[in-house]
């Protein structure tokens, strides 16, 4: 089994789904086998990738046992990446996922579909609830999404406490893969000042050196329900995700993990 990474944040609207989709797609372009799992009952990944064209079934159907893994795993047209939607269509579906998180079946179900991939990205709902806790319990690492906004940063402690709790009580192997600054507006003096203070105060290694700038192309890509690189003129916008993917690979090499994935990949062609 490859690496399972949860993309999470205690706040909504910080780019979790965008990052899961674009980072996943970038790693797929680099030749890795990638699975995206939409564990957010709001269905971020399913919407952002236009999964409905393929199937309405998703995680919730797996949990209920009314669909098989083969029925819910949809592979992209170019065959590079697979996606599992949340399958949530009603409030009862959301409750079903929350119940599964509580009784441990969410964790088992996710473990059951992760085999054979180099990277599995779990798109988590915002917050620190049972679903997020369950996802962290099954993950090798977490990518913490941050915006350089005061309210986002001030609500960080609760997520970090959850991270510590999960690591202490459920999953000793859970790593904070890194904090990723998203929706960066370099022209905003307050954001620059905030990031500067963060960099001076937090161990440097905890941050990805790549930042994801704010760019309207991400919104355009969401409208078209594609990774941003597939937009005409989207390549430059997608470039930070290529840098992030390379940085992840670099960190893996330096940590001595990631193993033989590089040498045994089926590529784009």
């Amino acid at each position: 089994m490859g690496r399972i990474l949860t993309v999470a944040s205690q706040k909504g609207g910080v780019g979790k789904t965008t990052t899961a989709l674009n980072l996943g797609y970038t790693l797929a372009r680099l030749g890795h086998s990638v699975l995206l799992v939409d564990a957010d009952p709001q269905g971020g990944i399913a919407i952002a990738s236009n999964l409905k064209k393929k199937t309405d079934a998703g995680l919730v159907n797996l949990l209920r046992g009314d669909a098989s893994a083969e029925e819910v795993v949809a592979t992209t047209r170019d065959g590079s990446m697979s996606v599992v939607g949340s399958g949530v269509a009603t409030p009862a579906d959301t409750i079903c996922i929350e119940d599964a998180a509580r009784d441990g079946s969410l964790r088992l179900t996710i473990e059951g579909i992760c085999g054979g991939y180099d990277y599995v990205f779990l798109d988590a709902p915002a917050g620190v609830g049972g679903i997020v806790t369950s996802l962290l319990g099954v993950s090798d690492g977490v990518i913490l999404m941050l915006r350089c906004r005061t309210l986002v940063l001030k609500s960080l402690p609760i997520f970090l406490k959850l991270l510590r709790e999960v690591r202490d009580q459920h999953n000793r192997d859970l790593q904070l893969e890194g904090a990723l600054v998203t929706m960066w507006n370099g022209g905003n003096e307050l954001e620059r000042q905030t990031l500067k203070e963060l960099e001076q105060s937090v161990p440097e290694a905890l941050f990805f050196r790549t930042v994801i700038p704010e760019d309207d192309n991400f919104e355009h890509a969401s409208i078209k329900a594609v990774p941003v690189i597939l937009l005409p003129g989207g390549r430059e916008t997608a470039r930070p995700y290529l840098e992030l993917a390379m940085e992840m690979k670099e960190r893996e090499l330096l940590r001595g993990i990631g193993g033989d994935a590089d040498e045994q990949t089926d590529g784009l062609f």
């Binding site: 372009r29 680099l30 030749g31 005061t150 940063l153 001030k154 609500s155 960080l156 402690p157 970090l160 991270l163 510590r164 690591r167 000793r172 790593q175 904070l176 960066w184 507006n185 370099g186 022209g187 954001e191 620059r192 000042q193 905030t194 990031l195 500067k196 203070e197 963060l198 960099e199 001076q200 105060s201 937090v202 161990p203 440097e204 290694a205 905890l206 941050f207 050196r209 790549t210 700038p213 690189i229 390549r235 930070p240 840098e243 390379m246 940085e247 690979k249 670099e250 893996e252 090499l253 330096l254 940590r255 001595g256 590089d262 040498e263 990949t265 089926d266 590529g267 784009l268 062609f269």
Partner: protein, 193 residues
């Protein structure tokens, strides 16, 4: 202005970050960044002098591991390190060094298996050799081929110890890869030597 240090929530977050970091560093080691890249914003190096002293004394910044591309027990490892570093610097997707017959000496993130990349490199190498035969021009050493709407393959022929060698790079079409390729060939030759 010191917004972070004035906030109890952020102080708590920083303390938790420090704890998590220390735990991770002791558990598995931790790879640090080499420098932040803020293309759409100002480049911010760490301004240690301006940092609050009490925070700096809580935990020193980690030592950042640096890859030395020329290190490694085996020549193949060292060559792969060069390819990896080249791809990282240049934003390339993958790279291969092969001999005149197309046999790969080192591969980083090849999009296809080694046999096929060897065959393809050999075909492009032959095409360069044919330039001398048909065009009577013997300086052909570089081929760039668009392979889809986004990507291209570049093959650079170079000579080591009177043997033809090839460096194949896969990257986006918009990239100017020449400088990185030339620099890396120098490193490759020094490792082979």
């Amino acid at each position: 202005m010191s917004r972070l240090t004035d906030s109890s929530e952020l102080q708590e977050a920083l303390s938790l970050f420090q704890d998590l970091f220390e735990e991770q560093r002791h558990a598995k080691g931790f790879a640090g960044p080499i420098g932040r890249n803020l293309e759409k914003g100002p480049v911010m190096g760490p301004d240690v002098a301006a940092a609050p002293a009490e925070v700096l004394t809580q935990a020193p910044l980690p030592t950042v591991p640096v890859i030395d591309e020329t290190e490694g027990e085996f020549r193949g490892d060292r060559l792969e390190n060069v390819l990896f570093a080249m791809c990282r610097r240049g934003g390339f997707t993958g790279a291969v060094v092969s001999d005149g017959a197309g046999l790969p000496l080192a591969v980083y993130n090849s999009p296809v298996d080694n046999d096929r990349i060897a065959a393809f490199t050999s075909v492009l190498g032959d095409a360069m050799a044919k330039a001398g035969l048909f065009l009577e021009q013997h300086g052909a050493e570089y081929i760039s081929m668009d392979i889809n709407y986004e990507d291209k393959v570049v093959v650079r022929r170079f000579v080591y110890a009177e043997m033809e060698m090839y460096l194949l790079v896969l990257c986006a079409q918009s990239m100017d890869e020449r400088a990185e390729v030339e620099m890396s060939i120098e490193q490759i030759v020094s490792i082979l030597g």
